[in-house]
């Protein structure tokens, strides 16, 4: 089959699913809707596999497939085509999107079985997949932007899916507006890229980069990178625009797994990795990205420790892990960033689905203080969640270990990294181990605090299959990116497949520092020890019912209150940004709109009415009057002609 056809099919299947379910959006037949939706994404996954197989079949240096569907915009020097680019980066992305996506669709069938509008849900989910594919496959920034906006829209629709609940609808709006702020910056960045390079196609930008690097003046590029990064902070929930992601948990849990953990929120990482060559020319922005990433990772982790809502913990964990990825990108470790993106997609999707399974079993109860001891009721969920837990805290040989370790190593050793950032990263890793163990302990272990009238049960097969598959992936997914250090000691010297695969498109920063292999071993062991210690402490604290946590929080006093209330960031935004904005808008409305613009328009309309009142006597229906006007006009014309002759 031709590439064009394959690409078209890749897009058409989710679109057809969207249309099919969208047209019958009132239907309550969740099985039909779910099967169609899942089949659409599954078909896309198969096509993705075929496409990636084709890509592998190509020569190593020339692994890219470009498909031009049609000319889209062509104005003067500016051109943006509806063309798509499949190269190693987007190959990884489409496999994650369609693969994890189809698992989550499958999970949703069971999860949404009691819902009022399953068809609507699946149509939105398919639309999301379509837009996400557009985002990662677009060969220029504008197509990417279309997908970028599209996923934002689907995110909004799905967060506010239960829109009858005021709070959930508000959460959707918050996500949308926060994203819009980032999107505006993204657009500015896009314009700057166009003014700098005269093109927005990735391949052309890449080919223009060496010349730009030689010219030595990186000011405009730095600016473009900065604005694109601000756009990425919106979509990928980084400081200062991360506030929407925890609220986004108002949506159905599979949505949180798909959009707000595995795929959409990683779009920012994807964007920066895609433009890694350009970012390498802007070291200042790289540093900013690293700092923002590290801070986000740290603060989100501290908040996660104090939360009691299972989904909120996972949400802050996601923010924190995304911060990790930005830290990686910031220090020039693009491949580890992609690697972590992938492993995170596996284990975080797994944990969200697991939490969905728990919530489903607990009849929409999300507070982990009211859980506990679920291990015996939900063995499969517990076991898969256990794998996710081990993966995220970084126990070898599960997926998270390799990616997290590589990020920390790059932070330590890269010329763009620093020891301070490494310390923050390491502390975050420790805290991650702590809060994740706390989550495990309070949910699955210890004694049951489940209320009498709730009877937890294991979820149906359609929900456990995705959990098992994702559990397997979380376990072995990391093996494609085993660092050189470890593979050195392994039998057969398994190479770093992912790095090799991405090498033609993305290159990590050169490690030129004095750090040696011994350093790497020391660092790795140190973090491992700390992580295990933290996990053990958390286990002792929460599974064994200790009074230490409350003592600790008492000892910390105001700090603890601050953390529990998420550092009052939402309150700060409300009082210092949103309310002044609202007040200013009210002022503008009252003084500019009502008292000025409206009055001017009234004046204009009064003028028009007055003129009409004057002229309407001409139109009084008196035919003889009309005849008179005609004769007067005739006379004027005749006079003019005669005067002329």
């Amino acid at each position: 089959m031709s590439n064009t056809l394959l690409f078209s099919l890749l897009f058409i299947f989710p679109l057809l699913g969207f249309l099919f379910n969208g047209i019958r959006f009132k239907s309550k037949n969740y099985k039909l809707a779910g099967i169609v939706g899942t089949a659409a994404v599954g078909a896309s996954f198969l096509i993705s596999v075929i496409l990636v197989a084709k890509l592998i079949g190509l020569e190593e240096g020339a692994r890219s497939i470009t498909v031009h569907l049609f000319d889209w915009i062509n104005i003067g020097d500016f051109s943006a085509n509806a063309s798509f680019l499949l190269d190693p980066i987007s190959a990884v992305m489409i496999l994650i999107i369609t693969g994890v996506g189809s698992l989550i669709h499958l999970f949703s069938i069971g999860y949404m079985s009691h819902d009022e509008r399953p068809s609507k849900y699946f149509s939105f989910l398919n639309l999301f997949i379509f837009n996400m594919l557009l985002l990662v496959l677009g060969d220029n920034l504008l197509v990417l932007f279309v997908g970028w906006e599209g996923v934002g829209l689907c995110s909004y629709l799905l967060i506010g899916f239960w829109f009858t609940d005021q709070q959930k609808a508000a959460a959707g709006m918050k996500a949308f507006i926060t994203n819009r702020i980032g999107d505006a910056a993204f657009l500015i960045g896009l314009f700057l890229v166009f003014t700098n390079f005269g093109t927005i196609e990735f391949s052309s930008i890449t080919s223009l980069l060496p010349a730009t690097a030689e010219s030595g003046w990186s000011g405009p590029i730095t600016l473009a990178c900065l604005f694109l990064f601000i756009g990425a902070t919106g979509k990928s929930a980084q400081i200062p625009l991360y506030v929407w992601l925890p609220d986004a948990m108002a949506g159905p849990t599979p949505v949180s797994a798909l959009i707000h953990a595995a795929t959409m929120v990683t779009a920012g990482i994807y964007l920066i990795v895609r433009l890694s060559g350009m970012y390498m020319l802007a070291p200042d922005v790289m540093m900013l990205i690293a700092i923002i990433g590290a801070l986000t990772a740290f603060f989100a982790a501290t908040i996660a420790i104090t939360q009691n809502d299972i989904k909120k913990i996972l949400a802050y964990s996601t923010v924190s892990q995304l911060g990790y990825m930005f830290l990686a990108v910031g220090v020039g470790a693009f491949v580890p960033a992609m690697f972590h993106l992938m492993t995170h997609a596996f284990f975080k999707a797994l944990m969200f689905l697991g939490s969905g399974s728990v919530i489903h079993a607990m009849h929409e109860e999300q507070d982990i203080r009211k859980m506990g001891g679920l291990k015996k009721y939900m063995p499969i969920t517990h076991f898969t969640f256990l794998l996710g837990w081990l993966a995220i805290i970084g126990i070898p040989p599960l997926a998270g270990f390799f990616s997290k370790d590589e990020i920390l190593w790059y932070t330590f050793a890269s010329p763009a990294g620093s020891k301070v950032l490494w310390v923050i990263g390491a502390i975050t890793a420790v805290m991650t181990a702590f809060y994740m163990t706390r989550l495990m302990a309070l949910t699955f272990w210890g004694e049951s605090r489940v209320s009498k009238d709730v009877h937890p049960h294991e979820s149906p097969v359609s929900m456990t299959i995705p959990l098992i598959v994702l559990g397997v992936l979380s376990t072995i997914g990391g093996w494609i990116g085993i660092p050189h250090l470890i593979s050195h000691y392994l039998p057969g010297h398994i190479p770093n497949v992912l790095e090799h695969w991405l090498e033609p498109v993305v290159k990590n920063i050169e490690l030129t520092g004095p750090a040696t292999m011994a350093d790497e071993i020391v660092i790795m062991s140190l973090t491992m020890a700390l992580i295990i210690g933290a996990a053990w402490t958390a286990y002792m604290f929460y599974a064994r019912k200790s009074s230490i946590p409350s003592k600790v929080s008492k000892a910390l006093g105001p700090l603890s209150t601050a953390v529990e209330n998420k550092y009052f960031v939402d309150e700060f935004y409300n009082s210092k940004l949103i309310n002044p904005l609202i007040e200013a808008s009210k002022g503008l409305w009252l003084y500019i709109d009502v008292n000025f613009i409206d009055k001017v328009t009234y004046l204009a309309s009064d003028f028009a009415t007055g003129c009409g009142r004057g002229i309407k006597h001409l139109q009084n229906g008196n035919i003889q009057r009309y005849a008179m006007y005609m004769s007067v006009g005739l006379i004027l014309i005749l006079s003019l002609i005669l005067m002329g002759s």
Partner: protein
């Protein structure tokens, strides 16, 4: 028979002036009278004025085509009078009067 040579002193211009005057009188009638019938008569006057100029042109330019045109105008004038009077009859049946002001119902 009349002595046509004796009319030689009168040129085309004289006829045209008379025609214009007749046309203007008809036009005044259309503009100021309120009775539909009189307005129709005034229109006949205007048509006749045009006919007069046609015949005069025809006569002085030795071209009989002008008279053909007069013939057509007369036919159409007859037709117009027929329809106009039919409308007048309808108006009269409706309002028992044939005042042009009833056409003011046409206004929006």
């Amino acid at each position: 028979m009349l002595n046509f040579e004796s009319l030689a002193a009168i040129g085309l211009n004289h006829y045209l002036i008379v025609s214009a005057a007749l046309f203007c009188i008809g036009m005044v009638g259309v503009l100021v009278r309120r009775n539909v019938l009189v307005i129709l008569m005034s229109i006949e006057l205007m048509l006749n004025a045009v006919n007069l100029s046609f015949v005069a042109f025809s006569h002085f330019s030795q071209n009989i085509n002008g008279q053909v045109m007069v013939f057509f105008v007369m036919t159409i004038a007859a037709a117009e009078a027929g329809v106009g009077l039919a409308i007048a009859v309808t108006i009269f049946k409706r309002f028992k009067e044939v005042n042009i002001s009833f056409f003011e119902q046409l206004k929006g």
